[in-house]
């Protein structure tokens, strides 16, 4: 590993963390959505600063090529984030549905009240 690739790894990981923390700070990202990205950033930083930990964990898990462990963990995190988003989408859809139903009922109620007021004005 050259010094350039070593620094490149650390900078990439730091960039992920900076972006995630900045989004959190500005409330553009809620904590529960940021959790996986934070984990990914921290893991990338550890692996970047101490490449030997990656080799050590790979040996522990029986992964022959340490890079494959990086790919595996990366895909696993992306998969979990996607799943979380699908689940959030379902919850949002269910809330939107409830809101739409409420709006329809309120509109009807509003119209009925209007009609009743008109009738009592005439009578």
């Amino acid at each position: 590993m050259t010094a350039a690739s070593y620094i490149f790894g650390i900078l990439s990981a730091a960039l992920i963390l900076v972006v995630v923390i900045e989004l959190l700070r500005r409330r553009h990202l809620r904590e529960r959505h940021a959790v996986w990205w934070l984990i990914a950033g921290v893991l990338a930083l550890i692996a970047g600063v101490f490449p030997s930990t990656l080799v050590w964990v790979s040996g522990l898990l029986g992964v022959e090529v340490p890079t494959n462990l990086v790919f595996f963990v990366g895909i696993a995190i992306l998969f979990l984030v996607c799943l979380q988003h699908s689940s959030e989408l379902t919850k949002l859809e269910s809330k939107t549905r409830t809101l739409a139903e409420r709006v329809a009922l309120l509109e009807l109620d509003h119209r009925e009240r209007g009609a009743r007021a008109e009738n009592s004005d005439e009578g």
């Binding site: 269910s94 549905r97 409830t98 739409a100 139903e101 709006v103 329809a104 009922l105 509109e107 009807l108 009925e112």
Partner: protein, 244 residues
């Protein structure tokens, strides 16, 4: 037998039905004098709302299309909020004959949910091919779970008593086929009594039932999936009084 019309709300989900909805509303008013009719316009892009209102129905208009399940939950909520005890669902395309409503309501005396069944002797409505087999399999599974003999589980012609109305006002599924299949499972798993009454059906005003084998297979798959998940869902997701 005096049918409790003043405690009964007819709910008609309508999606782009401006051609038929007025006639159905008038027919209901004609055959069931004094009954309240709520048309739920399910995000139609045509004049369904205006036409139904002019025909004398109450109309709740959804801002976008939610499917029959969403439209029906509006109906059940309206019923709960305005003190109606029973809800009868009727299609707005004229397929259901309103003269069967008193028979459905009579059966509600000792049941919570009454289905108007198309294949139970009356009328001349037939479905053939894979879609028919799917309906037979569904019927046998749902008959077992509801401890009564059901032959037409995808019928949209159904009457709900007070217990069913309060359950459905909170937990009427909006997914595809949820309004027919899953609603039955929720009802039977909540201990409601389900019955079936034969009704005559008229052919649909527009369109023909599909006999495309691929569509039939897709239907079978989705129906099966809906059924499996309806059974393995935790009961806490549809407990009455629970928070949504």
């Amino acid at each position: 037998m005096a049918a409790p019309f003043d405690k009964t709300l007819i709910v008609m989900p309508a999606f782009n039905e401006e051609a038929s909805v007025a006639a159905v509303v008038r027919e209901v008013a004609d055959k069931l004098p004094g009954i309240s009719v709520l048309v739920v316009d399910d995000g139609s892009s045509d004049a369904t709302t205006r036409v139904a209102r002019e025909a004398g129905a109450l109309v709740a208009t959804l801002p976008f299309n939610l499917g029959v399940g969403g439209a029906m939950r509006v109906g059940f909520r309206y019923a709960v909020e305005h003190g109606y005890e029973n809800v009868v669902q009727i299609d707005s395309d004229g397929q259901h004959d309103p003269s069967s409503v008193p028979a459905l309501l009579a059966e509600l005396a000792d049941a919570d949910l009454v289905l108007g069944a198309r294949f139970a002797g009356e009328g001349d409505y037939t479905v053939r091919g894979p879609r028919h087999w799917a309906m037979v399999v569904l019927a046998s599974i749902l008959s077992r779970s509801s401890r009564t003999r059901l032959t037409d589980t995808t019928s949209g012609y159904r009457a709900s008593g007070p217990r069913a109305v309060s359950l459905f006002a909170e937990h009427y599924p909006a997914e595809y086929l949820g309004d027919t299949i899953e609603a039955l499972v929720i009802a039977s798993r909540s201990g409601l009594v389900i019955r079936q009454v034969p009704v005559s059906m008229r052919p649909r005003a527009g369109g023909v039932p599909s006999h495309d084998p691929f569509k039939a297979a897709a239907y079978l798959g989705r129906a099966g999936l809906a059924l499996v998940f309806a059974f393995i869902r935790p009961p806490s997701t549809y407990r009455v009084g629970g928070t949504l």
